[in-house]
């Protein structure tokens, strides 16, 4: 298990380096230098040169990459020349909001999707199963920013139950929670559908296995067979799906944070990209990629934990 973990983490680091190299290559290839975009067409050459030097863009690309990683190892993600603050500070300020949003969406999606999938299996072939199936497909089909805009219109503007913008007052838990509900639901809704369908599909497969017949032959109640004997196996592909889907949850967060003017990584990246603020883009991408890779590794380890057969493969 330990060897497996070390191997996965090593691979993760390799992916991280690869992603950053690709990002630098992209910056190098994109036409228009940041100084012109940021300072406008009438800026003097001296001013442009100064900005390029401050951003470190005058160095060779390979040297920029080496420098970037050397600094990143010491916790220095570079400097935002516009706000005059370290990128790490910007990320640290924005990150909690996005993580809370992502986590809340994920937990909501799991808390609704898994029971719906189980219910579908227990009532397979009935009206309830059909209704859940249709609903699942419908919510998958609706993009999260559409849900965001409509829920904002209904619950914030018309009904005035929940706040429309921001992340809530600092230090006020109730206000922060209220500000979280609509954005989290907007992201979670589609995932409820995905998870319900995924759980149903893998559960149906598991329910046909001989060990389920054994459990039935001992007269175990159906809810126990579904929730313990089948779900423990059926949840495994769902965990992989959710781990991979976290990337798309984070990209939905970009839109949803924009709709709700919610400070967060999504907003940070969109603003930084539109002003060609490369140090901020690089620092943020590094952090997001690290988080994404960590989650994938965590999911793999969790699967190994849940499935003793996988565990043994990696033990040997």
């Amino acid at each position: 298990m330990l060897a497996y973990a070390v191997k996965r983490i090593g691979l993760g680091l390799l992916i991280l380096v690869f992603v950053m190299v690709v990002m630098y290559a992209a910056v190098f290839l994109v036409p228009g230098d940041p100084a012109t975009v940021a300072l406008g067409p009438r800026a003097t050459p001296e001013l442009k040169k100064l900005l390029i030097e401050r951003m470190g863009l005058d160095q060779p690309v390979w040297w920029q990459i080496v420098e970037f990683f050397r600094n990143a190892l010491t916790g220095n993600l570079g400097y935002d020349v516009w706000s005059n603050r370290p990128v790490s500070t910007l990320v640290i300020e924005a990150l909690p909001n996005t993580l809370i949003l992502g986590l809340a969406s994920l937990l909501t999606a799991l808390a609704i999707g898994v029971p719906l999938g189980c219910l579908s299996v227990m009532r397979r072939g009935t009206l309830a199963d059909g209704v859940i199936g249709v609903l699942a497909v419908s919510v998958i089909a609706v993009p999260s920013f559409v849900v965001a805009i409509y829920s904002l219109l209904v619950f914030a503007v018309t009904l005035r139950w929940l706040p429309a913008i921001g992340a809530g007052e600092a230090g006020n838990m109730a206000s922060q929670f209220k500000a979280l509900i609509l954005p989290a639901l907007a992201i979670a809704l589609g995932w409820v559908g995905y998870i319900a369908r995924m759980v149903r599909a893998s559960m149906m497969e598991v329910m046909g296995e001989p060990h389920i017949r054994t459990a039935r032959s001992f007269g175990l109640p159906e809810w126990k067979i579904v929730s313990k004997y089948a779900l423990r196996i059926a949840i495994i592909p769902t965990i992989s799906l959710v781990a991979v889907g976290l990337g798309s949850i984070l990209s939905s967060a970009v839109f949803v944070e924009a709709v709700f003017s919610r400070p967060g990584i999504g907003k940070l990246i969109t603003d930084a990209v539109s002003t060609r603020n490369y140090p901020v883009v690089m620092g943020t991408v590094l952090i997001m990629t690290t988080i994404y890779i960590s989650i994938t590794i965590a999911a793999d380890l969790l699967i190994a934990r849940l499935d003793p057969r996988v565990r043994d493969v990696f033990r040997g």
């Binding site: 060990h211 054994t214 459990a215 039935r216 032959s217 001992f218 007269g219 126990k224 057969r309």
Partner: protein, 321 residues
């Protein structure tokens, strides 16, 4: 607690898109407490359907007619909940393939505790103690450690011992062993048969052993029913069947048993022809198309069971008492 089992005129058909498959037709079976009854027949003869019907585990597309009387109660007539309450309490099933019989992500101990769920009078610790004792009884050493094992960490023979222990833990009145040794190699098979023989000495309920293996039936059973194409064609004491079979199918089956030949043969004997369609069963005797003794009435009328000495009976026009 144990009562007698009487299957009366049981027919089961599966409704499929290609039409109804008549898997069992007019099956009658008797078993009294303390008796080991064998069901033998080739693949597709309806053995598994019979077991599934007895264990109340028929799939949703199955239609059953007739009665399964256990201790005077018709199991087929009970609602789903009461059927479930009998499973794992009065009726226990030992499955065909020990490799896939257990949940792969739960420990043996966890599953065996769950399987005793009908025993509300017992606490978790008591259930675990019963498991340790029972695993010891079926010949598993180091039972405490084995309870913490996952199924894939046990060999096939050991898993089948666990399956037997699981069934016995529920203290059933009706124990059904569906091809208990088919998935095992020869040495394991011998060990499991030995174990089942030993266990039957202090077990008072009914045991139904299903197998296509004549040796297994001969070793374990008091009485045997021979099935062909969904029907019971002959039944009686093991001695009467193995030494005085009357039905042409039983005779042909016994003649094909490789264990009966002292020397190596160039070709193993077979029964010519193949099983009739279960979608459109033949009129008359089901075995007539393959029977060497078939004569005029066989293709026209279904033979009635002919009672012979004792409980011996055969469904054949060519047999008379």
């Amino acid at each position: 607690m144990s009562g007698a089992l009487a299957v009366r005129d049981l027919s089961v058909r599966y409704e499929t898109a290609q039409g109804a498959v008549h898997a069992l037709r007019h099956v009658d079976i008797e078993a009294s407490p303390g008796e080991v009854v064998g069901i033998v027949g080739e693949s597709g003869c309806g053995k598994s359907t019979l077991v599934t019907a007895l264990a109340n585990l028929l799939p949703a597309n199955a239609r059953a007619d007739g009665a399964i009387l256990y201790d005077g109660v018709d199991l087929a007539g009970l609602d789903a909940r009461r059927q479930r309450m009998l499973r794992g309490d009065e009726i226990a099933l030992i499955g065909q393939d020990p490799m896939t019989a257990f949940n792969p992500v739960l420990t043996i101990g966890d599953q065996l505790v769950d399987f005793q769920h009908h025993r509300r009078d017992l606490g978790r610790a008591e259930k675990r103690a019963r498991i340790v004792a029972m695993l010891g009884r079926v010949g598993i050493s180091d039972a405490e450690r084995r309870m913490k094992s996952y199924p894939h960490e046990l060999s096939g023979g050991m898993r089948q011992r666990v399956a037997i222990a699981a069934a016995l833990l529920t203290d059933p009145g009706l124990l059904i062993a569906d091809e208990p040794t088919t998935a095992l190699d020869v040495t394991m098979e011998a060990q499991i048969i030995h174990l089942l023989r030993e266990l039957r000495r202090d077990y008072n309920g009914i045991v139904i052993v299903v197998s296509h293996h004549l040796g297994v039936i001969a070793e374990l059973c008091d009485r045997v029913y021979v099935m062909y194409a969904g029907e019971v064609v002959e039944g009686g004491d093991v001695d009467a069947i193995f030494h005085g079979a009357r039905h042409p199918y039983t005779r042909a089956l016994l003649a094909c048993d490789p264990a009966g030949f002292p020397d190596r043969l160039e070709r193993l004997p077979t029964i010519p022809g193949s099983l009739p369609s279960l979608t459109v069963p033949p009129t008359g005797c089901v075995y007539a198309p393959r029977c060497e003794r078939a004569f005029a009435p066989c293709g026209l009328a279904e033979p009635r069971p002919v009672p012979l000495s004792g409980s011996h009976m055969a469904r054949c026009h060519a047999v008379s008492a």
